[in-house]
């Protein structure tokens, strides 16, 4: 089995197949919108992969291994036919797609998956994360409005940095990709220790207690590090950290709020796009006041 785009630098790649993932069409619409606008401004062409289906997320791989490979395999096959590298914005989709393409290297697994999806897989696409694509052209970002004085806690979560061999785009303990970007945009990335601590993943419905506890720790650490906001690259992390702040305040008795934004929104802001264009006014924990105080909104 061939991988259509296994080598070649990302920096030279102009067009990508785009895998938004389910969340970016609903709860994380602002991620989708800001990603598309920022990429357009950077001259990156995103062509949404036609007919993509859900990657199965943690529910598939928690309960059925084969399904967890087969669902992304269908998407990988489609992307392979398009012939462009497949860029995912959601860290979960990225992780599942990347692990699936790894598993498909195994002949037995590939045969089994071909039976399940009822199609032969001739070639698949190289899977990359949007953060990697932006990082590949870091020096070429035309910053129009530097995010001066904005202190950002870059939060990477689990799925971009673990497991090391199959997925990781950066160091698992102290990654720097997003920090580099934020610095380039004129903001100050804060040093903090919870960049890759888990937010509770897909448990907000079934075990909200766990999610609240883990998010509380992360938010408290970001605040302590002096961050004005947290930047994320994953809709699940965003949803967990942003939507439950009121409950966290109630449960743990602290009153601070930490806005959580997508890195693409910060990127767009620095590229001169507006708060409204970037849907920065759609978060439950409103980032606009802090952005205004820095003259950025």
């Amino acid at each position: 089995m061939k991988q259509a785009e296994s080598t070649g630098t990302l920096a030279g790649q102009k067009a990508f197949s785009y895998f938004p993932g389910c969340s970016l069409h609903s709860t994380a619409r602002e991620y989708d919108v800001s990603a598309r606008l920022s990429c357009e401004a950077l001259g990156i062409e995103l062509k949404e992969l036609e007919g993509w289906a859900c990657c199965g997320a943690s529910s598939a791989h928690s309960t059925n291994e084969l399904l967890a490979v087969s669902l992304p395999a269908r998407d990988l096959k489609r992307a392979g036919e398009v012939g462009l590298p497949l860029v995912a914005a959601c860290a979960m989709c990225f992780s599942r797609l990347k692990i699936a393409s790894h598993e498909l290297q195994n002949n037995d697994m590939r045969k089994l998956v071909q039976t399940v999806i009822g199609q032969e897989i001739q070639k698949t696409a190289r899977v990359v994360h949007l953060l990697e694509v932006v990082d590949s052209r870091l020096d070429a970002i035309p910053v129009k409005k530097p995010l001066t004085e904005l202190k950002v806690a870059c939060y990477y979560g689990c799925l971009l940095v673990r497991p090391r061999e199959k997925v990781a785009i950066d160091d698992a303990e102290n990654p720097q990709l997003m920090d580099r970007l934020v610095r380039k945009l004129g903001a100050e990335p804060v040093a903090w220790a919870f960049k890759t601590e888990c937010c509770g993943a897909g448990l907000p419905l079934a075990r909200p207690d766990i999610v609240l506890k883990l998010c509380h720790r992360i938010l408290a650490q970001a605040r302590q590090a002096g961050a004005d906001c947290i930047a994320v690259a994953c809709p699940e992390c965003h949803s967990n950290l942003d939507t439950h702040q009121e409950e966290i305040r109630a449960r743990y008795g602290d009153d601070a709020r930490v806005p959580v934004v997508y890195f693409t929104q910060l990127l767009g802001l620095a590229l001169g796009l507006s708060v409204q264009q970037l849907h920065l006014d759609k978060h439950l924990t409103d980032p606009v006041p802090v952005l205004s105080s820095k003259g950025l909104a």
Partner: protein
């Protein structure tokens, strides 16, 4: 989790054989340093920590492991695997154990988590993609937590973050077939006897 009064260690058990075969990880490499437990963000909520799961696998205590809530609470955040000094992919072991528990029909101690996964996949099977409103509503009804996260609903709807109607992809039937065949094939998978 089953309470164990006295244990009968079965070091050469089929359980550790299954784990090795299915996950590619040799549980006998673990020397119980405890770094996994120490770093696990949800160890506090588990009846067995990841270290104890590894130990139980070493000793072949199958019921003990497969009826624990650990394998369901595990977030697959991979911190344990990333930091293990013996380079054991512990998260992968957890996954293997959970799949074995499902396959062998062990009672699930974390019913809500299992229900969530089931509904999630039902929604995806139906539309080819997730529909979050449907997931939330079905979960609340079937779990009995009728008001869970309901307070967030107006805020999410007002911000246009929840679509009322699902998007169904054009060849959703193909996805449904993938589900059917994946389930059929998985049942053929060999289980660990003990």
């Amino acid at each position: 989790m089953q309470t164990v009064e006295t244990i009968t260690p079965l070091p050469q058990s089929r359980l550790s054989g299954y784990v090795q075969k299915h996950s590619g990880q040799n549980p006998l490499r673990c020397y119980q340093c405890g770094k996994c437990n120490a770093g696990c963000p949800v160890a506090y909520a588990m009846d067995l920590g990841p270290r104890q799961v590894m130990r139980a696998v070493q000793l072949g205590l199958k019921d003990h492991v497969l009826s624990s809530n650990t394998i369901w609470v595990c977030l697959q955040c991979q911190v344990c695997s990333a930091r293990c000094p013996m380079e054991i992919d512990i998260a992968r072991v957890m996954e293997s154990l959970r799949l074995l528990a499902i396959l062998e029909g062990y009672p699930v101690p974390e019913k809500d988590i299992e229900l969530f996964h089931r509904i999630f996949l039902e929604v995806v099977r139906r539309h080819g993609r997730l529909h979050e409103l449907e997931l939330g509503a079905m979960y609340n009804v079937r779990s009995g937590h009728l008001t869970a996260n309901a307070g967030l609903l107006p805020q999410l709807l007002s911000r246009g973050k929840l679509s009322v109607l699902p998007t169904t992809i054009r060849d959703a039937r193909a996805v449904r077939e993938i589900f059917a065949r994946a389930e059929a094939e998985s049942r053929k998978a060999p289980a660990a006897e003990s």
